[in-house]
């Protein structure tokens, strides 16, 4: 009974239109508390906006309900470069001033849309033997541009970019992603509730992984890739297990 009441109460609180206003590619500055407490603590003094040397923190407009005046990072326009200046300036602790390194930041997590990403399309074409795009393009911009290379984004099979849980959500990959008009990689803000889109991407990656497991021998490109793996000499690559089942549960 009590649980049901608390659930109802929490549900009412979470449906507060002034809080929990999540959106894809729309993040709080690094070190921000959870969205609810952030909205409580932020006094809209705009100091983080003033101090940002890259102009990546922007001020929310009047059209965003009571969010007006609060800071946002739109990684499609300008990503956060983790200079760690804004959180030292916050007077109320809405941005945690104890963070010192960029690695500790969790603004969100990057999710790759496998229907748009060139590498995944290429891999699928190789796998099925049918060219869907008519071209064979490989890019790997997100991997190169990531500030924590080989930690936050790992190249599986040396062509498939996969985001690990070390992703800080800084959004540099989103800013630099060449896919148009929709970005192939986008950031979902930290604490974003289970969303249709998020579930969709999670499901896609799961399906894709299962397909690959089933048709292991039938793959044409797979053997080629394995041969390519043998040629590679960098033993320093970290071992990464692409655990698709846990990936879905995290959301």
């Amino acid at each position: 009974m009590r649980n049901r009441f608390t659930e109802l109460f929490e549900g009412l609180l979470n449906s507060n239109p002034f809080k929990n206003y999540y959106k894809k590619n729309r993040l709080r500055p690094p070190g921000a508390a959870t969205e609810e407490t952030f909205m409580e603590l932020c006094i809209r003094c705009a100091r983080c906006i003033e101090v940002c040397p890259y102009d990546s923190i922007e001020r929310a407009d009047l059209f965003e309900k009571l969010q007006i005046g609060t800071p946002y990072v739109y990684p499609e326009n300008k990503a956060c470069y983790l200079c760690m200046r804004c959180m030292k300036v916050c007077p109320t602790g809405a941005l945690n001033p104890k963070l010192t390194e960029g690695k500790q930041v969790r603004m969100g997590i990057a999710v790759i849309n496998q229907n748009v990403c060139l590498n995944f399309l290429y891999y699928r074409d190789e796998m099925t033997g049918v060219s869907s795009t008519g071209t064979a393009q490989l890019c790997g911009t997100c991997y190169n541009v990531c500030p924590y290379t080989d930690e936050a984004i790992v190249m599986e099979k040396f062509i498939l970019p996969v985001v690990t849980d070390k992703c800080t959500g800084c959004g540099i990959c989103t800013e630099k992603c060449p896919a148009t008009p929709e970005k192939a990689i986008s950031i979902y803000p930290e604490g974003m509730p289970v969303d249709k889109n998020t579930g969709y991407f999670g499901r896609r990656s799961k399906v894709h992984g299962e397909e690959r497991k089933k048709s292991k021998d039938a793959l044409r490109g797979e053997k080629l890739l394995e041969e390519k793996q043998k040629i590679d000499s960098s033993d320093a690559k970290p071992d990464f297990e692409y655990n698709t089942e846990n990936y879905d549960q995290e959301w």
């Binding site: 609810e36 909205m39 006094i43 003094c45 102009d55 109320t92």
Partner: protein, 266 residues
Amino acid sequence: MKIKRYRRTAQILTVFAIFFIPVLNVFELYFIKGTFISMDIGDAAMADPLAVFQSMIAAGRVNEYMLGSVVIPIVLMLLLGRVWCSWFCPYYLCAEFMSWLRRKLKMKAYKPKFAENIHIKQSKVRYIFLFAGLVLMAIAGVPILNLISAPGIISTQAMVLVKFHYVTFELVFVAVLLLLELFYFRFWCRFFCPTGTFLSFFRSKRGMTVRKVRTECSNCMSCVRSCPMMINPMTMGETSHCNNCGDCVDACPDNKKEDTLKFTFK
């Protein structure tokens, strides 16, 4: 030298600072940073006590960053009275400009006649407005009183103008207030401004106050006429309405012969 001249200098310097601090920050000089909702000078953090109080209520917790940023303004307030409003607030300067404009246009504004109990009426309206705002804020769970803090809006808009080269719709709110200022004498500062109301809680009688030092004076009432907060400076200097602007000290004709109405510390 008249106090008003010092005060005007301080006000114009603050308006200059509003635009100059973001310029410094654009050139990556971070010694002074912030807006009038909160500001850093070196390592000393200062924040609007009302803004911090709101986030304390909304979050239901206190941390050391909040307390640290409130100390300097409150100590200043206890020592010097509510000088923030009359000596530094950019909105106050605009309101004074509007009353000057009204005099130039020869308009008649609604200025009630002085009565001894006017401060009770004023404080009723002020406290009810602040309390209602705080209740609304607690329901929304968001510090919304910052959205109607006129000095905060002016300084953040100046920052946005310097850094991003645009101005948002919030400035219309301040413009409307200033237009109404033409018809109702100093109504925002006297009755509504939540920042000023909250700051007046920190007024101590030990700090700088206007007092009638001499027992006798010519009773010309020029100090009462000059007071922008519509109180009697001779008796009500210690109340929370007085913001130590010093207009009454300037206006007093007896001060030329002998000290009558003065800023005193106790």
